[in-house]
């Protein structure tokens, strides 16, 4: 507590309060995807809407008085939700909390025609930002990624979304099989020429327990980049985006200054968020401390648990101050702005000065006033830097 007796601002006031709503269904499962997404023959939309409402009621009791800075419908494919479900959820949120004036309400959409038709419905429900899973601007690669759309449909969806919503972003996956630097330069230039304010550009990751992983283990999935090429592709991405006025504000996220995703900043700045829906994770501040929650991953199990009046949580644990500080460093060093050392100090966390000095001397980290951040080289080695910085 500061010396003058005022209470320090709560985490949600400095780093934001958000609500993540997970919709676990997709039209088809992509072979690289390890998200909690499932293909279901039938979905009882009414039951799901009921469950989300019930869950929100329970969370509201634990987090009264917050100002909602962001709601994010993620998935799975939330653009397959009925607009009515989205509307009911947003209404329920409004009943429990106040929205900030500039609250960001994002919905992830897949760019197939089925979803495009609902855009106006989502807008009417209150959604003001769309994040489209374009993934590639090359029909052959879209097919290899197991996507259900082609480039023309994707670009049409982007246009439709921009006509309907103020803020639109799309995702691309690069460092794909056989992708050369020249090809990616051309593809990314096309993407940038669309004139977006925000882009998420992820290098393809072979995640365990996916069909891609199995193929890779068997020696298949040829033409993935070597480490050197992956580095060059990453550096190329940084250059092209910065030149187009969309510098990276996080490892894989680019925005025109001011157009960053507020929701994701809540995660990376160590704010407070609720995880609503199957498999969703949350972090909330309670008098006992900061609580990490994780909901049951199975859609059926979660739905049944909620309907039966249970929390639907699989895990709920209090993090001690050290764990909080470590998590904060892990998340915030992903950002270009870096970590606020004052926040670490408030958590009573002391960085190991010798390690820190060495990482700075090696040109992996840099420090400016009370901010600690990665250098360009350090960001590419963030996992190793963290393991060095946090090891005991």
């Amino acid at each position: 507590m500061p010396a003058d007796g005022r209470t320090a601002p709560a985490v949600w006031q400095t780093a934001g309060f958000g609500i993540y709503v997970h919709w676990p269904f997709c039209a088809a499962k992509c072979p690289y995807c390890d998200f909690n997404s499932h293909v279901a023959a039938q979905i009882d939309h009414g039951a799901w809407a009921d469950a989300y409402e019930t869950d929100l009621d329970r969370w509201a009791a634990l987090t009264p008085g917050r100002l909602v800075h962001s709601v994010f419908f993620g998935g799975g494919t939330p653009s397959l939700m009925e607009p009515a479900t989205v509307a009911r959820i947003l209404e329920r949120i409004a009943q429990h909390w106040h929205f900030a004036n500039d609250a960001e309400i994002t919905l992830e959409a897949n760019p197939t025609s089925a979803e495009r038709d609902r855009f106006s419905g989502f807008r009417a429900a209150g959604v003001n930002r769309i994040s489209l899973g374009v993934q590639a601007l090359n029909d052959g690669d879209l097919q290899r990624l197991g996507r259900l759309h082609n480039v023309a449909e994707a670009l049409a969806a982007v246009d439709m979304a921009r006509a309907e919503f103020d803020r639109v972003s799309f995702d691309l996956i690069y460092a794909r099989q056989d992708q050369t630097e020249a090809q990616w330069r051309a593809e990314l230039s096309t993407a940038l020429s669309v004139g977006m304010d925000h882009l998420s550009l992820y290098q393809l990751t072979i995640e365990p327990n996916t069909p891609f992983h199995a193929r890779h283990q068997r020696g298949g999935l040829h033409g993935l980049p070597t480490e050197d090429r992956a580095v060059r592709l990453y550096e190329l991405t940084q250059d092209l985006c910065a030149n187009a006025g969309l510098p990276a504000y996080e490892v894989s996220n680019h925005a025109r200054p001011g157009s960053e995703s507020r929701h994701n900043l809540i995660y990376w700045r160590g704010g407070e968020w609720l995880g609503v829906g199957p498999g969703a994770h949350g972090r909330i501040e309670q008098t006992v401390g900061r609580i990490a929650t994780a909901a049951l991953r199975s859609p059926d199990a979660w739905l049944r648990a909620i309907a039966a009046g249970h929390s639907g949580l699989e895990e709920k644990s209090t993090s001690n101050r050290r764990e909080q500080a470590e998590e904060y460093l892990m998340m915030s060093l992903r950002l270009s702005e870096g970590s606020d050392l004052g926040r670490l100090c408030d958590l009573g966390y002391e960085l190991q000065q010798d390690r820190l000095a060495e990482l700075i001397a090696d040109g992996l980290l840099e420090r400016q006033d009370s901010q600690l951040r990665t250098t360009a080289r350090g960001r590419l080695l963030l996992n190793a830097v963290l393991s060095e910085l946090l090891s005991d």
């Binding site: 993540y20 993620g74 992820y202 290098q203 393809l204 990751t205 480490e227 050197d228 992956a230 580095v231 990453y234 490892v251 894989s252 994701n264 995660y267 968020w273 995880g275 498999g279 969703a280 994770h281 949350g282 972090r283 990490a292 994780a294 764990e323 470590e326 998590e327 892990m330 998340m331 992903r334 060495e358 090696d362 992996l364 960001r379 590419l380 080695l381 963030l382 996992n383 190793a384 830097v385 963290l386 393991s387 060095e388 946090l390 090891s391 005991d392």
Partner: protein, 599 residues
Amino acid sequence: MTELSRIRNFSIVAHIDHGKSTLADRLIQLTNTVAARDMQEQMLDSMDIERERGITIKANTVRIEYPAKDGHTYILNLIDTPGHVDFAYEVSRSMRAVEGSLLVVDASQGVEAQTLANVYQAIDADHEIVPVLNKIDLPAAEPDRVREQIEDVIGIDASDAVEISAKTGLGIPEVLEAIVTRLPAPTGDRDAPLKAMLVDSYYDAYLGVVVLIRVIDGVIRKGDRIKMLGTGGTYPVDRLGVFRPKMADIAELGPGEIGFLTASIKQVRDTRVGDTITHERKGADTPLPGFKPSQPVVFCGLFPVDSNDFEDLRDAIEKLALNDASFSHEMETSAALGFGFRCGFLGLLHLEVIRDRLEREYGIELITTAPSVVYHVFLRDGTMQELHNPADMPDLTIVDHIEEPRIKATILVPDEYLGDVLKLCQDRRGIQLDLTYAGSRAMVVYDLPLNEVVFDFYDRLKSVTKGYASFDYQMEGYREDSLVKMQVLVNEEPVDALSMMVHRDRAEQRGRAMCEKLKELIPRHMFKIPIQAAIGGRVIARETLSAMRKDVTAKCYGGDATRKKKLLEKQKAGKKKMRQFGKVEIPQQAFISALKMDG
């Protein structure tokens, strides 16, 4: 007291796994020495390690009573011996305590390297030898062929070798009869001053040191005051007994008898194997011939993974040393590994066994450095230093020359693998001494430097011969050669634990192989790491481990924070298995793996 003519003392010797311990079981069983319900397999192998590995490490004695066909009851003292070459010393001293040997040969495998080694020792000890063909229950058994082989290769008469199956019990009564009729009775004078041979000793938590003795002349009784002629120690005999195989008290032991005594002796080190025990008063003054003490031949450093465990390691090593006089230790400090011990062993199996026991019985995780032999370093001033650790190599300017231990290795191998075996020996700087055939098996004898053998020779031999070769060796003294110390530098810093002595002609090849191996074993770091091998200041091989350039998670949102944390925890645990050298982390396992050379 037992009449000498009613005593038979013998050892059971064989190549490893040919069935010595199983035969001992049957002899114990058939003579009802142990109640049926207390019988268990290989019952003399009582150490955990022995039971687990199914091998014998310590020689064991049992006294059994056998009513023979001639109507008399005989006392039989049998000693079951280990088959592995590392413990050959146990065999040789056991043989000094008895008059005969049962030479067990697996009838499905035939004569192997240790069969030969054991026979030669038995002949040296003037033993009567009864050949026993075991495992004739196996379909692959060829007793006739093996009988012929014994005659050809070993040159002893095998026409009346006893055919048995120690597993089924077939032929065991014949073995018992052969012991009585074919092995000689001991000799000795009951009225002469006491002379007993100290055959072995071990530490027992309840009894203190237990001493195994063979009485030659005179009689020893409980309560007698005894004197060890070699060490000069005097003790009162607290307890006297025999093994059946459990300890059973006995009033006295006379000539020809084998048994044990306890006498308030604190440490195994206070007893000397081969020493002569007599009475303090009116004792004998000329000692028995005695044995050559066993010498550790392989040395390596043992360091605790967690440096906080050092004191525990010291305790554990001291406890083990109490019971194993052939294992030596002294403190060692390494710039790389901190505090630990330089330990000497009879061979690699012995090393493994001790390391295993330290890790399991005492729960200490260990880093084992490269095994090394003992070099004789002759200095210009005419003196000689024993070098147990390459890190201690004196400055080259004061060194005149270096001698290394050589061995005489005997390898038996089926014809089709002979070429590979010869190549292996040649690659290891071997000099062929002999090559003969026995049926479809070749017997090669090589003069080899011990240091080329200690590390992975046996593994390589097994792999090039698909396990069909057998191998035995004996020390053959020291010889000068062109030897140098090779250092390894990781990120420009010498890693003392990786230093090794090599022959100059192979230094480059070794150095290159070592650098390549280390390049695979050391994980990449955020900077590039030169790995060099050097002799003196001269770099003879070099590899560069490139810097890691990219290690970042592409996507990390709310739900991934938890996942990320788990990853970090895993990394932290992984780091514990590393050693820090300057800025470089080297996995512990690298210290051993780096030295395994292929071919």
